[in-house]
Subunit: 331 residues, 2 copies
Amino acid sequence: MKMLINSPETVVADALRGMAAAHPELSVDVANRVIARRDAPVAGKVALVSGGGSGHEPLHGGFVGPGMLDAACPGEVFTSPVPDQMVRAASAVDSGAGVLFVVKNYTGDVLNFEMAAELAEDEGIQAVSVLVDDDVAVTDSTFTAGRRGTGATLFVEKIAGAAAEEGAPLERVAALARQVNEASRSFGVALGAVTTPAKGGPTFDLPAGELELGIGIHGEPGRERREMMTAAQIAEVAVDAVLADLGAAGDPVLLLVNGMGATPLLELYGFGGEVARVLAERRVTVARTLVGNYVTSLDMAGCSVTLCRADEELLRLWDAPVRTAGLRWGC
Amino acid sequence: MKMLINSPETVVADALRGMAAAHPELSVDVANRVIARRDAPVAGKVALVSGGGSGHEPLHGGFVGPGMLDAACPGEVFTSPVPDQMVRAASAVDSGAGVLFVVKNYTGDVLNFEMAAELAEDEGIQAVSVLVDDDVAVTDSTFTAGRRGTGATLFVEKIAGAAAEEGAPLERVAALARQVNEASRSFGVALGAVTTPAKGGPTFDLPAGELELGIGIHGEPGRERREMMTAAQIAEVAVDAVLADLGAAGDPVLLLVNGMGATPLLELYGFGGEVARVLAERRVTVARTLVGNYVTSLDMAGCSVTLCRADEELLRLWDAPVRTAGLRWGC
């Protein structure tokens, strides 16, 4: 498998150098692997820090900026960052108002962020963690006890980030982040396997003519393999899996139609139209829609659907200005 | 090859339905295949209309909105839209101040936009066409007499769109579009072939361990096949091909590090870092950098580099607010 890289060992450092060159508004510490807002710490503001294995870009580094994250810690590909990295990020962006760690539910991330929170407290930084575990496909998985954290991470980081930008205190920002996670569910589908630089080939085998329903963002097994389906059929399976868990009634939803990385935007929009159709048939009102590659899995072909039930306040915070490399509006 | 589609015949219509669902700020005519600003025609404003074969998303439909295009006409995958479509788009968005057609240099597009300009004039719409032909890889190609139009299309649409938004007259908007095209050069590289829905498999054969230098955005042949290279080496070839034609001295450049569709953002940023390094070594000053999948070729793996020499005025227009699905800042 060919890749646009120098070597598997330098992939993350090379990408960070590229981010530094492209985004003068970010402060990129290549050696210590921290991407931060250049204007951090922002006086009086709660800081949001996230991180995880690389390979899901623009998540998380592409979500650093006003209205979203203050810093991100990228690990090696599909590998948790280390506690030192997280503490360094927290120290760099904490204004004294405290830090919220946004943690996707994978065992390595959870353990390392726990340790980081303790170390941060030792340094006098108030740190609170919020776990994202929105993926309804499976409970427990290759790298996870409980549900995996996937697309809802974007909703959590955006909405909690908006609240922090407005000056909400740590307790309130954390409560909002938990509310968003609890109101969100995701389901993913793979049409083609993912290739990691270290392996140099597909990390799992997906035969021609089959897809995997319920795939994880590291290629972890989902619910089942099936013969290839149409976009309309996939949309029905994904939406119904999400609604079976979220419930069909409630507030209007934020909808993320997410590409896994290698699926063309043309196909993703076609799929998004089918998702919108199914949601209308299920009498779910969509308040906002985002279509694109946001929580990816390197070169995996496929997609995921995330819904978040949003009351007036969540909707207002979703619409609030955001200025990052990967998500940008209103400013 | 598996695709997230309903059928090859409905790919474009399905995608348009998805765009309509996701973007209430756009007016999407699925039957006639026109994507327009919902607030068009904007009184007194020159309208920008572009279009071309589908499969290059977000180009062009994703660039419709304030500060960029007023309308886009998507053709079938890798197939020119028809003149009727273009005239319909022009009629929908013309305020009386005239229409600029932005045309990528492919034979079908050129002929059809020429006919559309004549038909539009018959309807009393003043229409001027500007040709984009920035790809230095080859002169004449599978679908092209002269150079192909690729990444510079984004610069032309953004900068001319900003001038139109400010109220510049048609003559000035067209002159700026030509200036941007003349100041821009591109070079693309494929690591993997592109799959079209109609064919259902790769449209060309790229052996394991080889890449194609100078690839076109429809998979048209480039300059040569070579054994796989590092990102650093590819950056040198691409930048030097561009500079050999553009000249090494002059204004600072706008830099587009563009993904062809299936190359992960992590790799694209790493490549972007190498492009920045080579430009610095060649003493070229980079004023602005954009990294991402903007002028794509469905699921092709690979990248392209576009440079545009930008004087103060072009830079100001580049920085001006834009609000589209694919490009958004400042508003």
